[in-house]
């Protein structure tokens, strides 16, 4: 039924690029990226095509899939190198979290993003940021307030709840 095709195509078009970036950064294996992304979309389409929070669902599914493959690879006897599964998992979790936070920053609106950049990453003061951006200090303060709130919402949407 083409309704399914449309649903899958829509998920792929809307979330494919984000998933591809996440999987690429987490696995560093360009050959597997597309396979994993497609498998993730197929699983989610099959299990929960109507999920309220599709993005979080896709990301969680990708995480499970990558971790499972990692473990399977670690168990394979022909691999001479013994992989410490727990260590590999937590490294993978860190990599995924990193990508997700980066993605979240990318989804923040531009004038909020630049405030986060100057205040947090460049350690500028509110006064310096005000000069740099060319808006009053009061605006920097209120943008900082909404930037932090929106970032929290975006991260929640992505399933990053910590």
């Amino acid at each position: 039924m083409p309704l399914d095709d449309e649903a899958v195509a829509e998920i792929y078009r809307e979330h494919g690029p984000m998933l591809r970036r996440v999987v690429w950064r987490a696995t560093s294996d360009a050959n597997r990226v597309e396979d994993i992304v497609q498998e993730v979309i197929l699983r989610v389409w099959k299990q929960a095509p109507e999920a309220d929070n599709l993005r979080a669902y896709l990301i969680t599914t990708a995480r499970h899939l990558i971790v499972d493959q990692h473990r399977a690879a670690g168990r394979r006897p022909q691999q001479a190198q013994l992989v410490d599964v727990a260590e590999a998992d937590s490294a993978l979790d860190r990599a995924l979290d990193q990508v997700l936070v980066e993605e979240a920053l990318g989804r923040l609106q531009t004038n909020h993003r630049e405030i986060v950049r100057y205040l947090y990453f460049e350690r500028l003061t509110v006064a310096e940021t005000s000069t740099r951006v060319g808006v009053p200090e009061g605006t920097v303060k209120s943008r900082a307030y909404y930037a932090v709130r929106n970032l929290r919402v975006i991260l929640d949407e992505m399933g990053v709840t910590r």
């Binding site: 039924m1 095709d5 899958v8 690429w24 360009a30 936070v101 980066e102 900082a144 929290r152």
Partner: protein, 230 residues
């Protein structure tokens, strides 16, 4: 510059991110002691610095001025191609699950629906190769309640027809007929009705999918229960 007490709560953002002047920092700290709302909000976002640190010292690709080099396999030029692979896989998996589409028996809707079901995948990917599998929902004829989904799988020898039927007659024989472009009908499968009214069968025809004009599910006595026109 200090901020009036009404505006103190917005300082929460810069309090978390850093960059407040000493005066503002002191004013907000004091305000925080007595403001329940700010305490709650701070609780929700106090983990932010730890999360932001995950993005590295510069905050990742979206915060740096230099464009990030995208590795070749991540370029999106081949999206359509990937999509065809993906939809082919969708078609394959779809046959493994019971997904039904209710069909309205109104004649006009039936024709439109069957046409839409047939054309859908082709409209979706107009510039890409034909999908190996096409699905059609056979429309119930007036007075019939059956629900039938047929997958046409292109094979080297012709077309495999995977038929999922629900709400079928519970006794007698049933058959799948294939009608070619010249109007000639051949039987592609026959089976016995089940008490549950549900069956999954696979039929076969030497015709290729594009040579099939219509598919019909009939009773043993030749009464048409549902049809799908291409």
């Amino acid at each position: 510059m200090t901020t009036g007490s009404d505006d103190l709560h917005v300082l929460l953002g810069a309090y978390v991110l850093g960059g407040l002047s000493d005066d503002d920092h002191r004013a907000f700290s004091e305000h925080l002691r007595s403001c329940r709302q700010c305490q709650t909000e701070l609780g929700q976002v106090s983990g932010m610095p730890r999360l932001l640190d995950l993005a590295g010292p510069e905050g990742g690709p979206h915060l740096t001025d230099t464009p990030v080099a995208v590795p070749a396999p991540l370029m999106t030029d081949h999206d359509d191609e990937h999509l065809v692979t993906l939809l082919g896989e969708v078609a394959r998996r779809r046959r493994r699950r019971r997904a039904w589409m209710s069909v309205v028996a109104a004649a006009a809707a039936v024709v439109l629906f069957a046409a839409g079901a047939w054309l859908g995948p082709q409209l979706l990917t107009p510039t890409t190769p034909t999908l190996p599998t096409t699905h059609v929902a056979a429309a119930a004829v007036a007075g019939s309640q059956v629900r039938i989904d047929i997958a046409l799988v292109t094979r080297g020898w012709g077309t495999q027809l995977d038929v999922n039927c629900e709400d079928m007659p519970t006794n007698g024989e049933l058959a799948l007929w294939v009608i070619d472009r010249s109007g000639r009908a051949t039987s592609a499968a026959s089976w016995r009705a089940t008490p549950a009214g549900y069956s999954r069968v696979t039929g076969a025809t030497a015709l290729r999918p594009n040579e099939i004009q219509a598919l019909e599910v009939r009773t043993g006595t030749g009464k048409v229960l549902a049809e799908a026109r291409t």
